[in-house]
């Protein structure tokens, strides 16, 4: 029977077809191939929604589609397959929805602004979406890795879209290289998973999280290379985490993300909300059954996440460009997701992934709208007063900002609050290290509220501070439409999982808990909770979600209020100047770039020089030596070919004599 699951490959293939169409005949299509992309992503979206409803009916799908390397005699078999469970079904809907809206928005941002090279742009968007969707439905780690890399490639192509200017190509290279650095560890991790378990499947009784669990119970033996099983699983988990840290822009590999703002704004929306950056967090959620076995990995994830959330939020406070503020807010929000995952809040992190996808896409598209209006000037100090000129953008942007700052009842409040709550209860329940991460996350709430409203107030309130702000460029339906859709979602998406309200009223309204609680055995949130308790020693302390929720709300309001107090003037002054030296440090991103460049110049470069010398001198030397020896000896030996037949006869005779003598001596004739 042809069920909806038979059409799941089409979700991935449709954007890929739009990539091919835009690449091949995009020049001859109206709007440079935009319609092909819109039709394809909208089709994917509809199929994803249908899949979503089928999954909500209790069906799941885990099927190998294509075996591309058949392992003989116990060797590993490499396959492509589909895994559709509640998590991936939800992610499919998010990715396809955002991709569709980004395509529509691009009509306003790219086509109407008269950009050239549009087929290349739409081809890139199509491939980007297809890669991310392939990553989402991947049923094994190797397939996930391959699509992970494709996502990285597409980000390179799109960030460097305006390749004739100096900035974008350099930012694209940086994004590619920094994420690549993390992916090295990921690749080693994939190989380690194969070497340990002989499989990289995510789900089923022969999947690696399940085998790892059995190995810890002593029911199944795996090759752990001489380590304790738990130690080894921690090592493997941390190797894979390398890729996650790179892609999800966590400290210390976050430096590529702010530079990636050089790309077109719709691309930034796609990268930050739905595709590339989300891939890292999604991967941890996908193989959460494996991470849940190792309390060490979980603590490291939580600490990285908490630290990144705070660290990035402080940098967002002083930036002048609207997209820079958003970039640091993205890093910070992904830090929250990592904090949630490490803190034992699988559902909370997934929830935040979802709400963040909506409100961050909204904010980027809103920023894109402002940038159109401002004739591509991104400096917030030259904006101001745009509230009355572009009300649709203002109110949707405000909705996204309230969600980002975590003000009740917008989406971000519910999810961020749940992340913090889960971390807190597990921290109090016997994992004190989580409390450190929690404290950093909580502090970051204040900074988030501050920088968000600083951005809103500087951009939209006060008096216009430049000629372009007094007379902004208008935007069309293709910009406003996506903004309105996302604005509504940013306001309401949080309502699907209102844990504090459920606690207060006793209603069964935690829909996301129910949603992620069913599905494939071993991939449900119930199973993860069991694992966290039995394996990682995570126990939930008995505190209600109300008080921690009020604390974080109060902090967010305090941050927002401080911003309102400081910047709600007609002519706001740059109050961050009062920070003095601290501002310089923050404005220069804690000199992270300088320090990484220093590392590259003074450590990696000499090492590479040494390796180059070794390669040129020793390796090539041996090879060249062998060849020159044979060249020289050939040069000498060929002289015996004198052309005189008598000499040959002499050599023949001498050779025969020597042969007979040799035989005679060895054979014992004499």
């Amino acid at each position: 029977m042809a069920g909806i699951f038979d059409f799941v490959p089409a979700i991935v293939l449709l954007p890929f077809v739009s990539f091919l169409v835009a690449l091949a005949v995009g020049n001859r299509l109206p709007k440079g191939g935009a319609f092909a992309g819109i039709v394809a992503t909208a089709g994917s979206f509809l199929l994803s929604v249908a899949t979503f409803f089928t999954v909500s009916g209790g069906q799941t799908y885990n099927q190998t589609i294509y075996t591309w390397a058949n392992g003989l005699d116990g060797a590993v078999t490499l396959t492509f397959g589909l895994l559709i469970d509640p998590l991936s079904a939800m992610m499919l809907v998010i990715v396809t929805l955002i991709a569709t809206l980004v395509h529509v928005f691009s009509l306003g941002y790219m086509n109407d602004e008269g950009e050239t090279g549009l087929p290349r742009y739409y081809a890139g968007l199509g491939l980007f979406t297809a890669s991310m969707l392939g990553f989402v439905v991947a049923d094994n780690l190797l397939m996930a890795f391959m699509f992970f890399e494709l996502v990285g490639l597409c980000s390179y192509l799109l960030i460097g879209f305006w390749f004739r200017e100096p900035g974008p190509p350099s930012a694209a290279k940086k994004a590619f290289l920094v994420t690549r650095f993390g992916d090295y560890f990921f690749l080693v991790g994939v190989v380690a998973v194969f070497a340990t378990f002989g499989t990289a499947a995510f789900a089923g009784s022969e999947s690696f999280p399940h085998l790892a669990e059995q190995a810890l119970h002593g029911e199944h033996s795996v090759n752990t290379f001489g380590f304790e099983p738990r130690t080894w699983f921690t090592i493997v988990g941390l190797l894979v985490l390398g890729g996650v840290v790179g892609k999800s822009a966590q400290f210390p590999l976050h430096t590529w993300l702010p530079d990636a703002m050089e790309g077109p704004t719709p691309v930034s929306a796609l990268i930050h909300a739905a595709t590339m950056v989300a891939a890292g967090v999604y991967l941890v959620a996908r193989m959460y059954g494996f991470y849940a076995l190792s309390p060490t990995s979980l603590s490291i994830i939580a600490l990285i996440g908490g630290f990144t959330a705070l660290f990035a939020a402080t940098m967002g406070v002083v930036k002048r460009e609207i997209k820079q503020v958003l970039a640091y807010s993205t890093i910070s929000q992904y830090g929250y997701m990592m904090l949630g995952l490490g803190g034992g809040g699988y559902i909370a992190a997934t929830f935040h992934l979802m709400t963040h996808a909506f409100f961050k896409a909204l904010l980027f598209l809103g920023a894109g709208s402002v940038i159109i209006a401002m004739h591509h000037n991104e400096n917030m100090w030259e904006m101001g007063g745009l509230k009355d000129k572009m009300p649709v953008t203002y109110y949707t942007f405000l909705s996204g900002s309230l969600a980002l700052a975590g003000i009740v009842p917008f989406a971000g409040f519910w999810s961020k609050d749940e992340v913090l709550y889960e971390t807190l209860v597990h921290g109090l329940g016997g994992s004190p290290i989580l409390l450190v991460a929690y404290a950093m996350g909580l502090l970051a709430v204040f900074f988030t509220g501050f920088y968000t409203f600083r951005m809103v107030l500087l951009t939209f309130h006060g008096e216009p501070r430049s000629q372009t702000a007094r007379d902004p460029h208008g935007v069309h339906w293709n910009v406003k439409g996506p903004l309105v859709v996302l604005g509504i979602l940013a306001a309401t998406a949080g309502l699907v999982n209102m844990t504090p309200v459920a606690e207060l009223t006793g209603l069964e309204i935690e829909f996301l808990h129910q949603w992620l609680g069913h599905g494939i055995e071993g991939l449900t949130s119930h199973h993860y909770v069991e694992l966290l308790e039995s394996q990682a020693g995570y126990h939930a302390a008995e505190i209600g979600p109300i008080v921690p929720g009020l604390v974080s709300l109060a902090l967010a309001l305090a941050g927002a209020g401080l911003a309102y107090f400081l910047y709600n003037d007609a002519e706001p002054t740059e109050h961050t100047d009062k920070l003095g030296g601290a501002k310089t440090v923050l404005y220069n991103n804690y000199y992270q770039d300088e320090y990484q460049v220093w590392l590259a110049n003074s450590l990696v470069q000499p090492f590479s020089r040494g390796a180059d010398k070794f390669d040129q001198g020793v390796v090539d030397g041996v090879v060249n030596g062998v060849s020159s020896v044979s060249l020289l000896s050939g040069n000498r030996v060929r002289r015996i070919q004198s052309g005189v037949v008598s000499n040959y006869a002499v050599l023949l005779t001498l050779g025969l004599t020597a042969l007979i003598l040799g035989f005679g001596l060895l054979g014992g004739w004499f």
Binding site: R638, R639, Q641, S642, G643, V644, V645, S646, A649, T653
Partner: protein, 100 residues
């Protein structure tokens, strides 16, 4: 019956004469003759052992050798004719164009 040692001595002597000819002569025709001597030395051996063991296989091979020798002479004489035509001489030490 003549003991086989005599045949072997005769064969060795003929072979050595042929070898000597190849190592010392410069005339291509003499080369060819020397090669023939060496072949016939081998033939003597074949026939002698055939005679000793009372088995005709050796003699059969002797006939084969003669046929091959005849063919070889035909080819060899052809080469010598070409040599003479191209170089005006049959001195093997002067024809040294096929070398490194």
């Amino acid at each position: 019956m003549v003991p086989p040692q005599y045949y072997l001595l005769l064969s060795a002597a003929v072979f050595c004469i042929g070898l000597f000819g190849i190592l010392t002569r410069r005339n291509a025709l003499l080369f060819l003759m020397s090669v023939e001597l060496m072949l016939n030395a081998a033939n003597i051996n074949l026939v002698a052992f055939s005679y000793v063991w009372g088995n005709v296989t050796g003699q059969t091979f002797g006939l084969f050798t003669m046929a091959i020798a005849a063919a070889e002479v035909a080819v060899g004489l052809g080469i010598i004719l070409v040599l003479y035509r191209d170089f005006g001489d049959v001195d093997v030490t002067k024809v040294t164009t096929m070398r490194w």
